[in-house]
Amino acid sequence: MSTVTPAQNSNTQNSAKMIKTLTLIAMISGLLVVLTFELTRPLIAENQRIAVEQAIYQVIPEAVDWQEYRLSDGKLLVASETTEGISIYAGFNQAGALAGIASEAVAQGYADSIRLLYGYNPACECITGIKILKSAETPGLGDKIFKDLDFIANFKALEAKLNGEQSALENAIITVKHGEKTQPWQIDAISGATVSSRAVGKALNDSAQYLLPRMVNQLTTIKQMSMEDETK
């Protein structure tokens, strides 16, 4: 329609150059990121697997082998990339028998939420260990939940018995003040880190109350599934 003035012409040229530069840079950037991602993916997956494995072996002391399952709608399936639900890790001892199950629990701590993995032994109906996976508790105070040996000793055999109807825990897991522990289902808090200690107790109680009644019938399923694996 109208004639193109030299100024307009140079403007279009400038825009074209800008677009070209940005496109080129974005392509180089994309290429570099994809390359790194592909190269590091197996290493990262391996690191994550090792981290999970170490945590499982720590909370189920007898375990030498493990298998991940997912619980959803009361059904337990062997975990694959597509199965949804809560992750349940079954640990097996040297003889190949079920040594315990492990699952994640979460509760609000003093700073941010505390995520932990805990092991449960069906034979003694007790919690056999915890491992803090993520926490932002205050160094020197709240972070004692994974450094204080007396506190960790609480979880060597913390009772988590189901009641007669198998609908909930017989005695709720509860954190009591430092030095006031009298029952096997009580957790002796760390003095000076009461909020963090309570959070650990709450996380365990919430998760166990929900999970254990649902898992009690599934334990035989795990045993059967692991037997089938053996025969294969």
Partner: protein
């Protein structure tokens, strides 16, 4: 060809590298990138990892910016620099995950936040975009080393005082009561302040000495 004024290229000297460590130290002299300096220096290993990660990003982005400096139009230069920096930060992010998940969790969001470290953007804008690749790389190495040394200065002091350990090994007996405040955020400010004080005193003394020698 380029509309920008051509600066006469000076050759690469040892000074190009050393400037970043002493004279233009990004932390103690220019006070740049204070966020990671205060946040992740609660232990020596975190400080070292953060320093190396930042150096890698600085090195990669300086090299690429310098390589492409003639082709980048002035109007979109900041956007281009940010894309380049973000690319290298993402690479570092994956690499650290591949090396150690524990370290990755300890450094947390501060790895991703290297993108907005003003030291890196500052070097891209003020140095890499005006100098050739060799000079930019050497200068980036110097700046990175200066940044790492500064982080280590803070990290070591904070770990020794705040936890009584060095690189995780206990230094004192069981009777040592750690100054917990040192590994908490306030400790970062205390230690940074003390280091800045030492540097200021040193500088003051140096200028005084020079004046004295001139007077004589």
């Amino acid at each position: 060809m380029s509309s920008r004024p051509r600066i006469k290229e000076t050759p690469v000297t040892m000074d190009t590298f050393l400037k970043g460590i002493w004279e233009e130290n990004p932390v103690f002299v220019m006070l740049l990138g204070m966020c990671p300096v205060l946040a992740v220096t609660n232990s020596t290993i975190n400080a070292l990892a953060m320093g190396i990660a930042t150096t890698f990003v600085l090195l990669g982005s300086s090299a690429l910016v310098s390589l492409l400096r003639r082709g980048i139009p002035k109007q979109v230069r900041i956007a281009t620099y940010i894309i380049i920096i973000a690319t290298f930060v993402t690479i570092v992010d994956y690499l650290i995950q591949a090396i150690s998940l524990e370290l990755y969790n300890a450094l947390g969001a501060f790895i991703q936040l290297i993108v907005v470290n003003c030291m890196i953007l500052g070097r891209a804008e003020s140095y890499a975009s005006r100098n050739n690749v060799t000079k930019s790389v050497v200068s980036a190495l110097g700046m990175g080393a200066g940044f790492t040394i500064a982080l280590l200065c803070l990290g070591t002091v904070r770990e020794i005082l705040g936890a009584g350990t060095l690189l995780g090994f206990p230094l004192f007996g069981a009777d040592f009561e750690p100054w917990v405040v040192m590994i908490l955020p306030p400790g970062g400010f205390f230690v940074l302040g003390s280091w800045l004080l030492i540097f200021a005193l040193l500088k003051q003394r140096k200028t005084k000495m020079e004046e004295l020698t001139r007077a004589h």
